[in-house]
């Protein structure tokens, strides 16, 4: 049975071959031997412009599609990522606010405590009083200017005016 199948297949292919060959020979014969009434084969240059423009459109749309898909993925990823980042940063902000609050509170409570300790008997802290202050009166600019200026230390005014003079000593 299988032998029969094989033989029938072979037969069909043989018949095809016999059908193709004569027609190819005919064509060759026509091309070589009859110069009048030549039919030109369609060449690649003669693709109509509308087809070409469609091809361009197709290529462009493929590129655009990939670009859009890429950007959509990027934007989506960014939205997800940015929200996560926001969540983290918000928690960070809350922590910072809380630290600030606690620092302020503790600082003020310490101030109060130290001030109260200063009022206790036996403390080494003494309150400021006017008789412990020394006020320096500026020399008047008139009259003393001539004598004062040569002796005046140059660091103050000049350093400020130059701005770069070294101050450390």
């Amino acid at each position: 049975m299988s032998a029969a199948l094989k033989s029938s297949r072979r037969k069909r292919s043989d018949s095809n071959r016999s059908r193709v060959h004569p027609s190819a020979l005919d064509a060759r014969r026509t091309a070589t031997f009859s110069p009048i009434g030549v039919k030109r084969l369609p060449s690649q240059d003669s693709v109509p412009t509308w087809v070409r423009s469609l091809l361009v459109v197709q290529q462009a749309s493929v590129v655009a599609t990939f670009a859009l898909v890429g950007s959509v993925l990027a934007v989506y990823g960014w939205t997800v990522y940015s929200q996560q980042v926001w969540g983290k940063e918000y928690q960070h902000l809350e922590t910072l606010r809380r630290n600030e609050r606690q620092l302020t509170t503790n600082k003020e409570m310490l101030k109060d405590q130290i001030a109260k300790q200063g009022n206790r008997p036996g403390t080494v802290l003494t309150p400021q009083s006017p008789d412990k202050l020394i006020f320096l009166t500026p020399t008047s600019s008139q009259g003393s200017a001539a004598t004062a200026s040569p002796q005046a230390p140059p660091t103050g005014v000049e350093a400020d005016s130059k701005g770069t003079a070294p101050l450390g000593y």
Binding site: M1, R101, Q102, T105, D112, S129, F135, T137, T139
Partner: protein, 683 residues
């Protein structure tokens, strides 16, 4: 296949049906020989069947046949089959649609609720009430979140004893005590009221089921009772009940809006539904004019004096006369606003605003200023001080009449120095009662000062008819009795003298400022020009008279070497509830203005009902004022007015320690701009 199977069967049956003639023939008559031949034939047949079966098992022939059949097959269009396919597809679509309807319509509300509860979180950000700071930036009031811990033993997954032991380390309570509380109910037990943020974090780390932390706001006053009378307190509902917390609540409160946020599977929040400005909490704070350093000094000294003289209460006020800013407002006894619920309710009122008293002799400089302004008297005019006189049959005498008797001819300055009542009556008698009454009204008696602290009450002044008809009312008003005012109004009145004659409004709020110190809001009273009451000449004359009071008179206790301090003592009898005056109860006060050459500060101390024979304005209140002035000098770095030891009472030129410097060089900052910047204390 079928055909072939049939042929095999037929051939086999044919074999079986045919008699094994050959073998029978060959063996002759032996039955056993026939049987063996039959068996061998059977074996042969079965082996052929088996080989064919194996052949078919390998599928070569069967598959080939199937392919052949498919090649030759012709699809017959069948309407029935088409309908079945269509029906199956349609049925599937209908089922899907029904499921969609079930999910989107029927179960939608429940599912939506479920999703919301899983995905969204109600973010209630901690938006604190704005902080209150003093003029140098010390925080006087700040909000902080605290937590209330609730326990629900019904939801515990561990034994109560284990939970109690875990909680004990965080709460600082004994496990037994916590266990006792946990046994009290099945759920909703309040274990702790004001739990700090750190403690709340530690509790959350324990991950105990059945505990609940509820966030609340708590107002913290780090300086405790230092500024309680100015700042006030907020109650448990975050409502300001006293002081600035009450009067400026609209500036301090910020609205709290809870925001619904989506949450990712990991629990982090997604910001897509956040309203604009959610993150931006304005950083404004309410700045007061109070200086907590001066405040602390004043409080310490006031406490000492109140204790020393067994006084009922006392108040110290310091006002900057240039704009009316109160630098200090201390009341004693005070309360701790952090634990306001423990304090006596009476202490919540600031009696510097709410209680009237008769100012007594501290009012005399104002009477002198009125008389000078109306040109009823001259600064160098002399009056006969008889020591005791009768006005409308009422006796009026000096406080020291029993010892000093009649003083004879005295100048206006001496009248103030000795605080002579009789002399003051003579000065006021130079004016028409009607005109005098107009002036009392003009300086604001009988009205409020308009300060920004709450619950201020107006002073009391008799009506014009009563006041002008009898001559006793103007006479008693001459030495500050017969009308009443609040301590803050006394400061305002002396502010007229200190500010060159302007009626300024004492206030404590400087404005709303941001972190960079830029003003966001400032009170209107800072912008309106104050009303001019007296001429600057008049006020300067009166100030010099008051300076003499400190240098030579009753205010010696307030002298500060090197500084020109003006002042006036006051020891007034307290009016009794049934009319007249109480014999023993008095109210002592001292008001000071300094520095005289460039008046800036009004310092007043009022002590109510000090006990003891030596309880006078000069002994009780003046030392307080001196200490406060000392603090102001050191903190504000006020240079001395005169070299120590120079005779007082004269207009003193500026201090000139450097030999050869011009003696006319004044340390008045207005006169010498360089002096304002350069003198600096070295301590």
């Amino acid at each position: 296949m079928v055909k072939r199977g049939r042929s095999i069967k037929n051939s086999r049956l044919a074999h079986l049906r045919q008699p094994p003639s050959g073998s029978i023939r060959s063996n002759g008559s032996g039955y056993s020989g026939t049987l063996s031949a039959l068996l061998s034939d059977l074996r042969e047949t079965s082996s052929r069947v088996a080989s064919e079966f194996l052949d078919s098992r390998h599928g070569t022939s069967r598959a080939a046949r199937l392919i052949e059949r498919l090649r030759t097959a012709h699809a017959k269009p069948s309407l029935r089959r088409l309908f079945i396919v269509w029906a199956v597809l349609l049925g599937a679509m209908v089922l899907l649609l029904l499921n969609l309807v079930r999910l989107q319509v029927v179960q939608a509300p429940d599912l939506l609720k479920q999703a919301r509860s899983q995905q969204t979180t109600f973010l209630r950000p901690f938006i604190p009430r704005r902080p209150v700071v003093d003029r140098v930036g010390n925080v006087l009031a700040i909000d902080q979140p605290v937590y209330t811990l609730y326990a629900h033993p019904i939801a515990f997954k561990e034994p109560k004893t284990v939970v109690a032991e875990k909680l004990a380390s965080v709460l600082g309570q004994s496990p037994g005590e916590i266990l006792r509380k946990l046994d009290s109910a099945e759920s909703g037990i309040r274990l702790e009221v004001a739990l700090s943020e750190n403690a709340a974090d530690r509790l959350q780390d324990l991950q105990i089921d059945g505990l609940d932390l509820a966030q609340q706001q708590q107002r913290l006053y780090p300086q405790q009772n230092l500024t309680a009378d100015v700042v006030g307190y907020v109650d448990v509902d975050q409502q300001g009940q006293a002081g600035v917390e009450h009067s400026h609540k609209n500036l301090l409160e910020r609205s709290i809006k809870s925001v619904r946020l989506s949450r990712t599977g990991l629990g982090s929040m997604m910001p897509d539904r956040i309203p604009g400005g959610f993150l931006h909490i304005d950083n404004l704070h309410l700045q007061l004019t109070i200086d907590s350093r001066v405040q602390r000094t004043a409080q310490t000294v006031l406490q000492q004096q109140v204790k020393k003289f067994g006084a009922k209460r006392g108040v110290v006020l310091v006002m900057d006369a240039t704009d009316g800013a109160l630098r200090t407002l201390v009341s004693e006894p005070s309360y701790n606003p952090n634990e306001y619920y423990k304090a006596n309710v009476e202490r919540f009122k600031n009696w510097a605003m709410t209680d009237l008293y008769e100012p007594g002799s501290t009012f005399k400089p104002l009477n002198v200023a009125i008389a000078l302004e109306t040109k009823s008297i001259k600064p160098d005019q002399v009056f006969n001080d008889e020591g005791s006189i009768y006005v409308d049959q009422w006796p009026i005498q000096n406080f020291d009449y029993s010892t000093a008797g009649a003083r004879g001819m005295t100048t206006v300055t001496q009248i103030l120095e000795r605080s002579s009542n009789v002399g003051m009556v003579h000065i006021i008698q130079q004016m028409q009662p009607n005109e005098y009454y107009n002036w009392l009204q003009k300086i604001g008696l009988g009205q409020t000062t308009g300060t920004d602290l709450p619950f201020e009450i107006a002073g009391q002044l008799k009506d014009r008819k009563t006041f002008t008809e009898s001559s006793i009312d103007p006479a008693t008003s001459a030495f500050g009795q017969g009308f009443s005012l609040t301590p803050i109004q006394l400061v305002q009145l002396h502010g007229i003298l200190a500010s060159g004659g302007k009626l300024i409004t004492p206030h404590v709020v400087q404005g709303l400022y941001d972190d960079a110190g830029q003003p966001y809001w400032q009170p209107i009273q800072n912008q309106n020009p104050p009303k001019q009451i007296f001429s600057p000449q008049t006020t300067q004359t009166v100030l010099q008279m008051m300076e003499s009071v400190v240098q030579n008179g009753s205010g010696k206790a307030a002298r500060v070497p090197g500084y020109r301090v003006a002042g006036k003592t006051g020891t007034a009898q307290k009016a009794s509830a049934g009319g007249g005056y109480q014999e023993s109860a008095k109210i002592t006060s001292f008001v000071s203005i300094f520095p005289v050459e460039n008046p800036r500060y009004v310092v007043a101390a009022v002590i109510d009902e000090p006990k003891g024979e030596d309880a006078f304005g000069s002994t009780v209140a003046a030392p307080i004022v001196k200490s406060v002035i000392d603090a102001l000098i050191t903190l504000d770095k006020i240079p001395p007015s005169q070299p120590t030891g120079q005779p007082p009472g004269q207009p003193i030129p500026g201090v000139t320690p450097t030999p050869g410097a011009s003696p006319t060089e004044s340390l008045d900052p207005a006169a010498n701009p360089s002096a304002e910047v350069t003198p600096s204390p070295i301590q």
